[in-house]
């Protein structure tokens, strides 16, 4: 496996919605490379035929009765919002200004 590059780190930062200055990209590149190098022992194992474990304690089809229960009132749900308007969360422009 080729080592993680500065370009990889910059790309991943974009995916993760983080902005990293060039110095931080440099530091993260070498730190992530060291961690991934340590993980090479795992990468190198032949695990063909071994099923993955995504969850330690298997519970299947956990459902509750389809009954309406108590939920947070609108005002409480919005109480911590940085900005709210008309009972909704307000955010900056998403699609550009209306014509």
């Amino acid at each position: 496996m080729s080592r993680i590059t500065r370009d990889d780190v910059a790309h991943v930062a974009t995916l993760a919605r983080l902005e990293l200055d060039p110095e931080r990209i440099e530091t993260f590149t070498s730190q992530l490379a060291a961690i991934l190098e340590h993980a090479e022992d795992v990468e190198a194992l032949d695990l063909a035929g071994v099923p993955p474990t995504s969850h330690p304690y298997e519970l299947v089809n956990v459902l509750r009765p389809d009954e309406v229960g108590a939920t947070l009132p609108n005002e409480e749900a919005l109480a911590a919002a940085p900005q709210a308007e008309s009972g909704r969360f307000r955010v900056p422009t998403i699609l550009g200004e209306a014509p």
Binding site: A34, T53, P92
Partner: protein, 486 residues
């Protein structure tokens, strides 16, 4: 320099019994603990927030209920500290992160509801590594928590604030969370008992998620009995958590005195070698001898796949974290840093709100899950998780519990470890348990040559809390003089 005063503090078992019997006032008990907080918290910094007024109101309410002939419950009047990643209705919950600074949850975590319902008196929210990512409580946006045994040392992490609060006598019990060792390692470094329960035994509802398939809430205490008392109070099925095991909480306290006669104990060979300090190894061997002297059979056992635990964990946990922490985007709660567009606002908010270690793990997880690397990293790590489960299951065919160090060393100096990978190595003994979903307890067992506490880890199979607590109780009784408190 030290701030341990646990010797003069009483246990939760004794406090609750006396308060329920009307022999002691919950308010008096609380004031004693608030006085210790007042004298040493400035040095230790165990708390992000001390809730003095609500604690006094809660203690008065307990006293009134006792006076009215009511029983407030099994934790009646016992002060408790809550890790600041557990949601508390009306009380700020920060995860020690700028991104949640000032956020006040509109609901209580299930475990918080349960400690209230058991009559406990919450005294505050404890410091942690930001979003529980760390092994030293140095990654907090609100400052380092220091080890009450030696203020130049770390308290461990990520639940360092809860461990330090109990070690300093600020509260006899505390709640923490453990994703890769975050209860057990700080418990070991602070010389207290810490338990990570079986995955699904304790509700995660209202625990702010780090890695959902690994996270579990558990108790800190000065005694094994107090840890059992608190675990009984918080365990048991919760319909609000789909991963909650649908069964009742185990009865632990009544089983503590059963001893270990005939119990089969395995020492995990792979965790008894490279990278573990000789003092720690010596204490674990002495602990094994103590169990043997009490009637257990003790042998070494090889669990080969645990050597891959660290690598698997540091792919799986960041992958889950990168997904879980996507919710912190400045839209619904917490910090918002404005931008011209919503995407810009999200980038600005996350860039300003998260600290370096959180960013590093989000990056690592995003990379491990990204196109072209998923199979090599995340997929492979999940298969290794299967190997670890299989090897542990094989060991538990021959043994009831396993024994290992909790942490490779005693508490290290604040500021000593800068390299992330070196810090991650602190979790080498505790991680396999989380990957397998098993329970494990750290019990104080003497000190290193530096005079600092050493923790011995007792591991058990899923829902093996009863033999685990029985072994822990025997170790506690056999541990070198408690005068370990400097």
């Amino acid at each position: 320099m030290s701030a341990t005063d646990a010797g003069s503090a009483d246990t939760a078992v004794r406090i609750a019994a006396a308060v329920r019997a009307g022999e002691r006032s919950a308010l008096d008990v609380l004031e004693g603990h608030l006085a210790r907080i007042d004298s040493a918290e400035a040095d230790v910094h165990a708390f992000n927030l001390v809730t003095i007024d609500s604690a006094r109101a809660a203690a008065r309410a307990i006293d009134e209920r006792v006076a009215a002939g009511e029983d407030p419950g099994p934790l009646a009047g016992v002060p408790i500290a809550l890790k600041d990643n557990l949601c508390t209705r009306g009380v700020a919950t920060t995860c020690s992160s700028r991104i949640l600074e000032g956020w006040v949850p509109p609901y209580d975590a299930t475990v918080v509801e349960r400690v209230w319902a058991s009559g406990a008196v919450p005294v505050g929210k404890t410091n942690l590594d930001e979003f529980a990512m760390g092994s030293s409580t140095e990654n907090s946006a609100f400052g380092v928590t220091r080890n009450p045994h030696d203020l130049t040392k770390v308290a461990g992490g990520s639940s360092g604030g809860s461990a330090a609060a109990v070690a300093a006598g600020f509260s006899p019990i505390a709640l923490g969370s453990d994703t890769g060792g975050s209860i057990r390692q700080p418990a070991a470094l602070c010389g207290v008992v810490g338990v990570k329960p079986t995955y699904g035994l304790v509700s995660r509802y209202g625990l702010i998620a780090f890695a959902s398939s690994l996270d579990q809430v558990g108790p800190f205490a000065t005694t094994v009995a107090d840890a059992a008392l608190l675990l009984e109070a918080i365990a048991g099925h919760d319909p609000a958590d789909a991963t909650s095991i649908p069964q009742e909480a185990p009865r632990l306290l009544e089983r503590l005195d059963e001893g270990v006669q005939g119990l089969r104990v395995g020492i995990v060979s792979e965790l008894m070698g490279d990278g573990i300090h000789p003092d720690v190894l010596a204490r674990v061997r002495e602990a094994a001898e103590a169990l043997a002297a009490a009637g257990a059979t003790v042998e070494e056992v090889s669990v080969p796949a645990v050597t891959y635990g660290l690598s698997a964990y540091y792919l799986i946990a960041p992958a889950e974290a990168s997904s879980n922490l996507a919710r912190f985007d400045g839209v619904r709660y917490g910090l918002r840093v404005d931008g011209a567009t919503t995407q810009e606002m999200m980038v600005n908010t996350r860039t300003a709100g998260f600290g370096d270690e959180v960013k590093r793990r989000i990056m690592l997880g995003t990379y491990a899950l990204s196109a072209g690397y998923y199979d090599a990293f995340y997929g492979q790590a999940q298969k290794v998780r299967t190997l670890i489960c299989r090897d542990l299951d094989a060991a538990y065919e021959r043994f009831d519990v396993l024994l290992s160090p909790t942490s490779p060393t005693t508490a290290f100096d604040v500021g000593a470890i800068h390299d992330p990978l070196t810090m991650y190595l602190n979790d080498i003994c505790t991680i396999p348990t989380n990957l397998a979903g098993h329970p494990a307890a750290s019990v104080p067992f003497g000190t290193g040559a530096d005079g600092l506490p050493v923790g011995v880890q007792v591991l058990a199979p899923a829902l093996g809390e009863i033999p685990m607590f029985r072994a822990a109780a025997v170790l506690e009784a056999a541990a070198p003089a408690k005068g370990a408190h400097p």
